[in-house]
């Protein structure tokens, strides 16, 4: 089999994903993770051994993979839609846990968004210090974002946005660094924004300022 001898990383990934797609056809789902198990993984509520077991299956089942992604997407997007930061009403920034979904001048409902043309950037409280890259730096890929640790914070949520405020990459992590995947489309010469929110155990969510970066030409 000459093709086998010529396999490289891309072929390996394509072959694996194609196998998952073929396997999904007519798949008996009795061995699949239950929807509740997938939800427990997304919400970080499954104990580690369970998490590993469920994700081992997700990595070998295209149907469970898709369902996990739908749940992850819902969780990430709802948090974004309901997010109180970056509004033009100071009272909202302080109203932890309570959101005003409409009626205000929220970032996402505003054409131009953060730092839109001629618009002053509306910043978070700056409670979380951003470390690297520095404000308005020109950076190269691979891109790693670093911020300072916040005591008592088990998780952080990072957002990378384009100039218009549209999210390009969202992630939740226990680290204080984030490597932006190469699959995230960042164009040389263009400006992007990023910020971090701490998800503290007590329910408060202090945020960093919004920082600009540019991809070096």
């Amino acid at each position: 089999m000459s093709d086998m001898n010529a396999i490289n990383d891309q072929t390996l990934e394509r072959t694996y994903r194609a196998m998952l797609e073929r396997r999904a056809k007519g798949q008996d789902r009795r061995a699949c993770a239950t929807p509740e198990e997938l939800l427990a993984v997304v919400e970080g509520k499954a104990p580690e051994p369970e998490r590993v077991r469920i994700l081992r299956h997700v990595g070998s089942c295209a149907l469970c993979h898709k369902e996990l992604e739908l749940l992850r997407l819902t969780a990430d997007v709802v948090e974004q839609v309901a997010r109180p930061q970056w509004t033009s009403r100071p009272v909202l920034a302080a109203a932890a846990g309570v959101v005003l979904l409409i009626g205000g001048v929220a970032l996402w409902s505003r054409r131009g968004g953060v730092g839109g043309s001629g618009t002053e950037i509306e910043r978070g409280t700056g409670a979380i210090a951003l470390m690297s890259p520095r404000e308005d730096s020109a950076v190269t890929r691979p891109l790693t974002l670093i911020w300072a640790s916040d005591s008592g914070t088990p998780r952080y949520q990072l957002e990378l946005l384009d100039r218009d405020g549209s999210p390009l990459y969202l992630m939740t992590t226990r680290d204080t660094t984030a490597a932006i995947p190469d699959s995230v489309p960042l164009e040389p010469g263009k400006e992007y924004r990023w910020w971090v929110r701490a998800l503290r155990a007590d329910g408060t969510q202090p945020a960093s300022t919004v920082r600009r970066l540019r991809i070096a030409p």
Binding site: G97, L101, R174
Partner: protein, 182 residues
């Protein structure tokens, strides 16, 4: 404006933002439009039922919105599982990334055989490297794998590096010679 219209406007404002984010993030995560459409409709309907007035929409707490939306998506998944044929049709309609339409049977057999050998080689990887490798090959970036597993990114990077090295060696033993796996 009637109460119903007012509620509709309030929900629309929420859903415009919700839809915009769902589309941009969902497509990047490889979800197709049919999935995203169904999820949006399910969430919209659930919010409509749960938040009977526009004031409630405006004042809804994050946690309540979260629970409502997650419950809607969870129900959608349950309903789909009760109709397995639908998923089958969706999968059949999707493009096969490595096999052209009407691929010759011998090519298809060779690809299936290759996939089976890769799958078997991953099964033999030590735990938990196998999990990280499977998630990587199924399309997750290591930062996402770290998030899902609740591990640090350096730990995942290390497991992935070693797991792919093991996989390379195992595939070579099976007569499959990857030039570069990661």
């Amino acid at each position: 404006m009637s109460l119903r219209d007012s509620l509709s406007t309030a929900l629309d404002s929420v859903m415009i933002r919700f839809t915009r984010l769902v589309r941009s993030v969902g497509r990047r995560r490889g979800l197709d439009d049919a999935d995203l459409d169904e999820m949006e409709q399910e969430v919209r309907l659930r919010l409509w039922k749960a938040l009977a007035t526009s004031d409630r929409v405006r004042e809804a707490k994050t946690s309540y919105l979260y629970q409502t939306a997650m419950s809607a998506t969870l129900d959608m998944i349950r309903r789909r599982r009760a109709r397995p044929q639908e998923d089958l049709e969706t999968m059949e309609a999707a493009d096969s990334p490595d096999l052209p339409v009407g691929a010759a049977p011998d090519v298809e057999f060779e690809q299936s055989e290759l996939a089976a050998r890769i799958d078997h080689a991953i099964d033999e990887l030590p735990e938990p490297r196998d999990v990280v490798v499977r998630l990587h090959l199924s399309g997750y970036h290591r930062t996402e794998i770290a998030e899902l597993l609740g591990w640090t990114e350096p730990k995942v990077r290390n497991l992935l590096y070693r797991g792919l090295e093991d996989l390379r060696a195992s595939l070579i033993e099976r007569g499959i010679g990857p030039r570069r796996v990661a």
